[in-house]
Symmetry: C2
Subunit: 453 residues, 2 copies
Amino acid sequence: MNTRKRDIAMPDAALMDKLVSLAKRRGYVFQSSEIYGGLGSVWDYGPLGVELKRNLKDRWWRSMVHERSDIEGIDAAILMHPKVWEASGHLAGFTDPLVDCKVCKNRFRADDGRIKGEPGTPDAKCPVCGNTGTLTAPRMFNLMFKTFMGPVEEAAAVVYLRPETAQGIYVNYLNVMQASRQKIPFGIAQIGKAFRNEITPGNFIFRTREFEQMEMQFFVKPEEDERWFEEWKEARMVWHRSLGIDPARLRFHEHGADELAHYAKTAFDIEYQFPFGWQEFEGIHNRTDFDLSRHQESSGKKLEQIDTVTKERFIPYIIETSLGADRLALVVLADAYREEEVAGEQRVVLALAPAIAPIKAGVFPLVKKDGMPEFAHRVCDDLRRLFPVFYDDGGSIGRRYRRQDEAGTPFGITVDGQTMDDQTVTVRDRDTLAQERVPADRLVSYLAERLGS
Amino acid sequence: MNTRKRDIAMPDAALMDKLVSLAKRRGYVFQSSEIYGGLGSVWDYGPLGVELKRNLKDRWWRSMVHERSDIEGIDAAILMHPKVWEASGHLAGFTDPLVDCKVCKNRFRADDGRIKGEPGTPDAKCPVCGNTGTLTAPRMFNLMFKTFMGPVEEAAAVVYLRPETAQGIYVNYLNVMQASRQKIPFGIAQIGKAFRNEITPGNFIFRTREFEQMEMQFFVKPEEDERWFEEWKEARMVWHRSLGIDPARLRFHEHGADELAHYAKTAFDIEYQFPFGWQEFEGIHNRTDFDLSRHQESSGKKLEQIDTVTKERFIPYIIETSLGADRLALVVLADAYREEEVAGEQRVVLALAPAIAPIKAGVFPLVKKDGMPEFAHRVCDDLRRLFPVFYDDGGSIGRRYRRQDEAGTPFGITVDGQTMDDQTVTVRDRDTLAQERVPADRLVSYLAERLGS
């Protein structure tokens, strides 16, 4: 078997096209409103995509909330009081500098690498129409989506779609502490949608205007911030490796002084080597007491804690782990993609870790007669009570294996002539291609063990 | 034990206040942006609320998607192409008639029961300022939230927050069929947020502007619509009863000709007797071929199927089951609420079915010494690997039981003096108050059995 894994050192431009195409073909990701020509950089998750994301989110939730006694979950609304964004600094500072071409009316980020010369000066050249001196000086545009609550579009009713889930945690932190009897240090975890009106979205589900975040905010004493930062930084990398992601494609990137967000004292990205290069998909940030101080000042509500030993008041520091659910889905898809030659034939396979694969087993009657479909249906129904399975009787067995290889299904179960004699089935391993005969009545425990569940 | 259940015949106005208060106290639901005075009719789910909703949503997903071979899941984006809403009829028809008072500037739904007289005529009386003849004639306002994609607020970039998740299913249905190899009849299920700019939201989490839907759209041959409608109508009622909801508080309501939505041939609501009266929380609708026909016409893409027997082309009919996740959460909370007298003391208890209760067991050391806390922590850690548990050593054991009663926790496990001698603990049943001694090393299997898992 000749496995063609991507060269670690070289990004593969064509791979993205292949991934997008496979994602549509197998039902991972569809272009949103495709029958209407699509909506720019918005994507819908199909039957396999929704299960992959569910598996990733459930795994994160279990590790953050269910398996720990010091983290609580919440689910705050997307719509929040506009003062939240005033206090957090997003209203004033969550902006990108934009440049217009006065001739062709195209709009660019001021830092767009295609622009030659300084925008606003006579020698700047528009990267689309090619005219010089037609680009305006940069102007700041806020990235928050704005909408209107109540029936009239009047200034009093302006609300924003949250650009990060974190603020929903901050404004609820005292309520959570009181209800759950937690004490510092403790954390609050949340999974939810956020929206950013990006000027240049792209790279499939990597940068989209609507996206899902998995954020955890850990509240600590100010003097313990660095210890907790280190702990979470390491813990997050360990978690990603537990998904089976190639460690050689994972790295930390520390933010330099010029990269730090307005709220951050220290920030490390966890980057993955995507086909389009190294990019961040999770950030670990020491947000200090910035957010809670601002909310205390702005709301007039005391958001302090009292040190049980010194009896002094303090505003907790916050260590944030902020993971993009869609980016993580792209990481595991890109990491799992393989093109291989098997017995003289090409195959495409998604070598997803069995724990996160959407379908755990395909079930195939070798032919559509001699009782095989009935037997295969019974096998399927038995397994379905425990994990997602897929019945397929369409086309040659080779074609059916290939479809499930592309879907990332770790096991293929075939009901054949021998099954009718001795009630055993073959179980094919997606990665090694090894086939093993297993008694049908032992399939559940056999698969449960191999799936590690 | 003197159980005070609500009188079936009489709505209980005070009960809503009690529920809202308990929901905050125990961490089910908080007012959004509370430190800023709240945002009108927007609510955040706290640690217990998020688990309750997860349990309800997971149960629905399992029954719809995982346990059936004829339904696929998807997760479409909230932002869709604006043409979707033109075709679906929402842009033109998803409106409420509103009336303004020219004097006090208040705004009302034209059908507001407090308005005396015909709005727009000299004898109509404003229900707030009391002036007559000051109400305008009704004008139509669209209930969709509008926002702007891209950096400028120009007409071309107007998009809407979806007012229902259903359309995300319709525009993807061919892609789903192709990827999943489904054939008519089959269904597509989805859980996701939707937004409606309601003029009169209210009743806690019953009618909110941001809400979560659990919708399933079942695609059938036109001539089989009535059979499938009946099947789904009955199946949905059975599912709600499986959550332990009082059957006497559940009923069907058939839409009369004047109530039917523009797309519906037949519609049945499933209603619950809330403290504020009988109200719908799920709808089963025969949407006919309305939506797919409109999308076919509007997009120019063929959305037909071919009958395998007659070879004739047809556009599938759609049977929709549309359940509000927040309304369902309110149903189970209201249904579970009890005030009781126990041994001369009042207690409030949420008698949630164990399968949907956020915390499965509270673990309490009787006193904070003699090794009891250490033993209780070990018990807690063992159980936490399997289900959510809560450790509490604060206050008298009676107070701790009461807190978990209010939280809806079905079992209370106490580590006491005898535990130190014989390694048994007491398990208290939330509903019967019966206490049983169970060996600590048998707790996992004992609870798993009683939780039915």
